[in-house]
């Protein structure tokens, strides 16, 4: 049973990972926190699930739609809460993006109701028995897509001119601008990418849990925040490892202790890390290459 629980934890961590990476991209590029990213994930997931159930298209089509919706919503949030908000007042964009999140939640509950929306299963006939644990078809899809997206993001950031530009802006936006990097377009791309990751995370989480709640947004944001604090602001590797760690901790706490202790233990861990290593496990002190 422990092996199965460890697998459940890794799966949970994989879904956390995507949205935390999206969060980290924005932190890297702008040194700002987009507090509407959780709601972006929720909205994308609700619409993705709706497309799947109403039009009966294959899962991959609705998944692609959810990522596009996520990208679009994140760009909209960028224009509303970041683009025209002065950099001299960093808290203004935080509050503004929090407000955007509230508006997104209210819009979804108004349009589709406050109930949890079911997400149809995929590859329901598939079940791999790997001895110590079993993997369902849906879990396989989640792992594959999450891994592909994480690896794809890594390759994009490391091996493409736009990825290099994102890393350059993340490192020093002023210097990048002076060297001819189109900073605003790079930031816009960063927001779009973070939205794509959030959209993917939203629908994959819905698939893992079989349902999506319109009130999941803020919880998702909070979890992503815990992950990037634990992993280190702006660190891709730190974000991935922290997401997997938190997924494991939450799962094992529920399995062996109590569901009511689940968040408490994570908060205590984050508190300890903040005291001992405020920059996070893989934070800024880990070096420029580690950062986005």
């Amino acid at each position: 049973m422990l092996a199965q629980q460890l697998f459940n934890g890794l799966l949970l961590g994989a879904t956390f990972c995507l949205v935390a990476l999206g969060f980290n991209l924005v932190v890297g590029a702008m040194d700002r926190l987009n507090f509407a990213l959780g709601e972006t994930a929720m909205l994308s997931a609700v619409l993705g699930a709706l497309i799947m159930t109403e039009t009966r298209v294959p899962f991959l089509v609705s998944f692609a739609a959810a990522t596009l919706i996520g990208g679009g919503v994140a760009v909209a949030v960028y224009y509303v809460s970041f683009r025209f908000v002065s950099a001299d007042f960093p808290t203004a964009s935080i509050l503004s993006s929090l407000g955007c999140g509230l508006v997104l939640t209210a819009a979804v509950t108004k349009a589709f109701g406050s109930h949890q929306r079911s997400v149809p299963d995929v590859l329901s006939g598939v079940r791999l028995d790997l001895g110590a644990f079993t993997v369902s078809g849906a879990q396989l899809v989640i792992l594959l897509l999450a891994t592909l997206l994480t690896a794809g993001l890594y390759v994009f950031l490391e091996r493409t001119p736009w990825g290099t530009a994102i890393r350059a802006v993340s490192d020093d936006a002023t210097m990048s601008g002076l060297l001819g990097v189109p900073v605003q377009r790079v930031i816009l791309l960063t927001f779009a990418l973070s939205g794509v990751l959030a959209g993917a995370a939203g629908l994959l989480t819905g698939l893992a849990y079989h349902s999506i709640s319109p009130f999941d947004g803020f919880t998702t944001t909070l979890t992503a925040l815990m992950i990037i604090v634990l992993g280190g602001l702006g660190s891709v590797t730190g974000g991935v490892l922290a997401a997997l760690l938190i997924g494991l901790i939450q799962t094992l706490t529920v399995a062996y202790l109590s569901a009511t202790l689940r968040d408490l233990i994570v908060f205590i861990l984050v508190g300890i890390v903040l005291l001992v290593r405020p920059q996070g496990l893989f934070g800024r002190n880990a070096g420029v290459l580690e950062r986005v």
């Binding site: 049973m1 199965q4 629980q5 459940n8 934890g9 799966l11 949970l12 406050s114 109930h115 949890q116 079911s118 299963d121 329901s124 079940r127 079993t134 369902s136 849906a138 989480t205 893992a208 849990y209 079989h210 349902s211 999506i212 709640s213 009130f215 999941d216 939450q250 799962t251 094992l252 529920v254 399995a255 109590s258 569901a259 009511t260 689940r262």
Partner: protein
Amino acid sequence: MIRTGTAGRVAVGLTAASLALAACGGEGSGSGDGSATLKIGLVTSSAGPFASNAKTMEAGAEYAVKLLNEAGGVKGAKLELVKVDSQNKPATTATLIPQLAAKQKVLAIVGPVDSAGCEVACSTANKLKVPIVSPGAARPGVLKNSRPYGFTIAQPDADNSTPVLTKIIQSRKLKRAAIISDEANATTKAQADLFRSVFASAGVQVVKSVTFKSGDSSFASQVTSVAGAKPDVLALAAGPDDAGRIAREARSQRQTFALLGTGSLQSGGAAYVAAGGEATEGTLAAAQYDPHSETPAAKALLEKAQAATGQTDISLNFAYAFDAVHMIAKAVEEKGVKGGGDDVAKGRVAIQESLNAVQNYQGMADATTFKDGIAQRPQLQAVVKDGKFVIDKSAG
């Protein structure tokens, strides 16, 4: 200077507007004449594990008021539902009840639908001497601090569900059980205690107890733990939405153990099936309400409600709320209660006395008799079949 002046003008404007509203009577339609509107409070909850039950309760109360008003009201006076949303917060509930009593001057209150909400609302209403009828609170001792003004149409799970659950255990020869509950929620905790008590007395070994938090999305970890203990049955001490998602996770992990619920699960049956889909098929539960009752009075009301709502199954909370409004209306009619002015306090006493004397009231939910404020209900067995809870009449 300019700021002060503007603020001053705004303040004067707001004060004038408030005075004008007050002069017009504001909220009040209870001006003291005999044909004043008869106000009934309705405490709903848009959040929490029993939000879907509250929604059906609201629909039932609204339908009852609509029917009564279409028939000319009660002795010529129209009924009005004054709805408030507790959002599943005890502090909000404790504020809303005095508001309904003092500001809205309601004659009686219907709701909340759940036991945790009822404990707060009913004891507060009792202190204020306002009759309050819950169409769903079923935890043992739920009216402990709420008598003589508190009532519940749902019989407590312990009294109603125990014999039915025992019978299910014996007929299915269940030996090993697991229980899933939200230990932070008083209602689901009481359900878990009930299961433990039933299992203990029936000689069933509880091989695993797992917890969740109401509203959780993922139940993978809990179901994996339960599966490892290899139970014959999983007892669902959960609100209907959570229970549905637990069922879905269990079946997606290819677990074949039986799913068992108390009467509360059947009362939120539509939400349970909506959340769990096909995974809920075969779920067994105790029940105290038959949506397809053959009793003449209930049958006629159910068929009419089915036609009006377009639903083939009228849910328990809908029927109980419908009956609660009708019982209050009947008390108003019998005692000649008036809706406005100083008559409200006397009216509340009269309604309380009338409700305490209810014997064999024939309504949408069959016969109701109040015994110390608690309705005595039939003991039935339900099973999910073809996407809905049906009463298993073969179970006797």
